[in-house]
Amino acid sequence: MADVALNKVVKRFDEVEAVRGISLDIPDKEFVVLVGPSGCGKSTTLRMIAGLEEVTAGDIIIGGDVVNDVPPKDRDIAMVFQNYALYPHMTVFENMSFGLKLRRIAKAEIRARVEHAAKILDITDLLARRPKQLSGGQRQRVAMGRAIVRNPKVFLFDEPLSNLDAKLRVQMRTEIKRVHQKVKTTTVYVTHDQVEAMTLADRVVVMNDGRIEQVGPPHDLYHMPKTRFVAGFIGSPAMNFIPGRIEQNGVGLKIRLSQDLTFPIPESRTARYRPAAAKELTFGLRPEHITEPRGEGRDARCEFTVTLDVVEPMGMETMVFFTIDGTEVCARVEPSAATGPGQPMRLYANLNHMHLIDPATDMVL
C-alpha cells in the first residue's frame, strides 16, 4: 500500500526522448491506466516505475521515498507482463512462490499466501501444473497470482490482456477489476486499448509522444477532452472532425460546415464560443451524437439530409458513413432507421455534445 508520484520524469534512449518530463500523482489504492498509441512512452514510464529502466532525469517516488536508484527487487512492486513471463520449468505453485522463497519467507506462510491468491483467482486446481499445460487465460491468472502473493506496495500491469482473444480479454478485464476491488493495491496499468482504459480506471492518463495529454476520470475524458488528440483517441468509433467556421446567427451563433450546412449553436455555449467567431476551426462531434431524428425537444434546425456511402450493421446499432464537404463522417443510428448505400437519410446532430478545436493549438475551446 503506497502512493506513487512521478516528478518531471524524463527518459532518453541515445538521441530519442521517449518520455518528456511527465509528472503524475497516484494516491494509495488508486487504479490508474496509462493509455496511448504505441511509442507514446507509456510502457517506458511503467518500466521506470518498476526499475527496469533507469530514469534520465526527474524523480520516481514510491511510498514517499525517491526510488530512482533502488533496484527492482527492493521497490516492493509486482509486475504482470504482456507475455505472462511465467517460468516454464516451474509449476504454478513454484511460479507463484518463487519471489517469496527468494525473500526467505517461512514455508507455511508461503503455502498460505499462494493458496489464498489461488482462491481469489480460482486457480487452486492448477497449482501442480506447468505453464505449458495452461490456456492463455489461465496463464494470465497465474501471472496475476504471482503478483498478488507478494502483497506489494504497487501492482504494475504492462498490456496484460493484449495476447488474449477478444472474448477472453473482456472476461479477464472484469477479473482484474474484481481482484483490485478485493485486494485494493495501488495499480498502474498500461494499455493501448482505450476501452480497457475506460472500463478499468479510476483515472485515465492519456499519453502521446512522451507527454501526458490529459489526466482524469473516464467520464471526464470522454465528455470534456482538453485536446484534439484526447477527443480523437477516447471513444470508438472515433470522434468526427469537420472543418468549420463560427458565424453570427441573429443574437446567437451558428457553425458553418459547408456552403449549405449550418447548425445553430446551443445558447449555453454561445458565450464560450463567441471569441472564436469568424476563425477557421475544427468541429468535433461523436458518432453517437449524430443519429436519426429522435428525442423530445430536439432542435429541428439541427436535422439534415445526407447520401450514405457505407452502411455497417453492428447488431444493436448501425454505423452509417457519409461525407460533408469532402470529410468522411460516421453516425450511429438505429438499425431500423438506416437506409442503404447511395440512399438519402435524414439525420440529427445533437450539438449539446459538440466540441470546437482550434487547429492552430489543437486545444479544445
Partner: protein, 296 residues
C-alpha cells in the same frame, strides 16, 4: 476411372497430389539408403576387420568384407593386455571430463553476460569470441607450444586440459548466446522483480530453461576434446601421458607395419563413448543447435 476423373476434375488433382507424394517418398528413400550405405561402410569394415586374425587380415586372397575363418576376439585381448590402450583411455576420460567442466562453466557465464548484461563493447566481444573459433588449431599449436612449455606442462595431459578450451569455449559460448537470446527478456525481468540477483537468475531461471542449449554445447565440447588430434601429437610424447587418438595410432603403427586388426578394434572402442552420449542426448542436441541457429 478416367471417366470419373473427366467428370470430377478435383479427383484428378487429388490423384496427381498422391502421385507427387509417392515420388517424393521414393526419391527420399533412395537417397537415404544411399547415404546410409555410404556412412555405414567404414564402421562395418572396422567391425569385420577387428574380428579377424592377423593372418586372415594379411592374406591377400581372402575377401576383406566377410569373415571367412571364424570370429575371434584376439585383437581386443591383445589391445587391452598387450598395449597401453587402457592408459590412453583413462587419460582421455580425465582430459575430456575436465575440459567439458571448464568449458561449460566459462561459456555459460560468458554467454549469460554477453546476451543479457548490456555493457560497453559486449556486441564486439561476442563477435570477437566467434572469430577466435575460426582460427584453425593447426595454426594455433605453434604459439600454444611456447605457452605450454613456459608453464612446464609439455608432455603432460594436463596441458590438454589447458589448450582444448581454446577450441571449445568460443563455439559453446556462441551456441549459448544464441540460445539465451531466444529466452524472452521478460523472464529475467520477472525474476529481477521477484527479487533474484544475477547469479540466482542464472542458476534458477536461465540454466533450467536453456538446458537443451547447454546440453548441445556439452556434447560439442565432449566430442572436440575426445577427438582432438593436433594438440596431443604436438605436446605429448610418452605413452603414460598419451590420449586415445594419438596413442592408438602411434603404438599400433610401427614404421610401415600396420596392426590393422588392433587398430580397428581400438578405433571402435574409442568411438563408443561419443556414440553412447549422442544416442542418449540426440534430441536435445538438435533442439539446442536449431534454436541457436534460427534465433541467434
Amino acid at each position: 476411372m478416367t471417366a470419373a476423373i473427366a467428370k470430377h476434375p478435383r479427383l484428378a488433382v487429388r490423384a496427381s497430389l498422391k502421385r507427387n507424394r509417392r515420388w517424393a517418398l521414393v526419391t527420399s528413400y533412395v537417397f537415404l539408403i544411399l547415404f546410409a550405405i555410404f556412412f555405414l561402410t567404414p564402421p562395418y569394415y572396422m567391425i569385420v576387420t577387428s574380428l579377424k586374425t592377423d593372418a586372415e587380415v594379411a592374406h591377400l586372397a581372402t575377401n576383406p568384407w566377410i569373415i571367412a575363418n571364424g570370429i575371434t576376439f584376439e585383437q581386443y585381448r591383445l589391445l587391452f593386455q598387450g598395449t597401453d590402450f587402457l592408459i590412453y583411455f583413462k587419460n582421455t576420460i580425465i582430459v575430456t571430463l575436465c575440459v567439458v567442466a571448464i568449458t561449460m562453466v566459462v561459456s555459460v557465464l560468458a554467454a549469460f553476460s554477453l546476451s543479457r548484461m548490456r555493457f560497453w563493447g559486449s556486441g564486439v566481444l561476442a563477435t570477437g569470441i566467434f572469430l577466435t573459433y575460426l582460427i584453425p588449431d593447426t595454426l594455433l599449436f605453434i604459439p600454444l607450444f611456447q605457452i605450454v612449455r613456459g608453464l612446464g606442462l609439455l608432455n603432460s595431459y594436463w596441458s590438454m586440459v589447458l589448450v582444448y578450451p581454446t577450441l571449445t569455449v568460443p563455439f559453446c559460448t556462441w551456441i549459448m548466446i544464441g540460445y539465451f537470446q531466444s529466452i524472452p527478456k521478460e523472464l529475467d525481468e520477472a525474476a529481477l522483480i521477484d527479487g533474484a540477483g544475477h547469479m540466482q537468475m542464472l542458476l534458477k531461471i536461465f540454466i533450467p530453461v536453456a538446458l537443451p542449449g547447454i546440453i548441445a554445447a556439452t556434447i560439442f565440447a565432449f566430442t572436440v576434446s575426445w577427438a582432438a588430434f593436433v594438440y596431443p601429437i604436438a605436446f605429448l610424447f610418452s605413452a603414460d601421458q598419451q590420449v586415445l587418438t594419438v596413442g592408438t595410432v602411434t603404438s599400433l603403427i610401427k614404421a610401415d607395419v600396420y596392426k590393422w586388426g588392433m587398430l580397428m578394434a581400438g578405433a571402435l572402442v574409442a568411438a563408443a563413448p561419443p556414440l553412447i552420449v549422442y544416442a542418449f542426448l540426440m534430441d536435445y542436441y538438435i533442439a539446442g543447435l536449431t534454436a541457436g541457429a534460427t534465433k541467434g
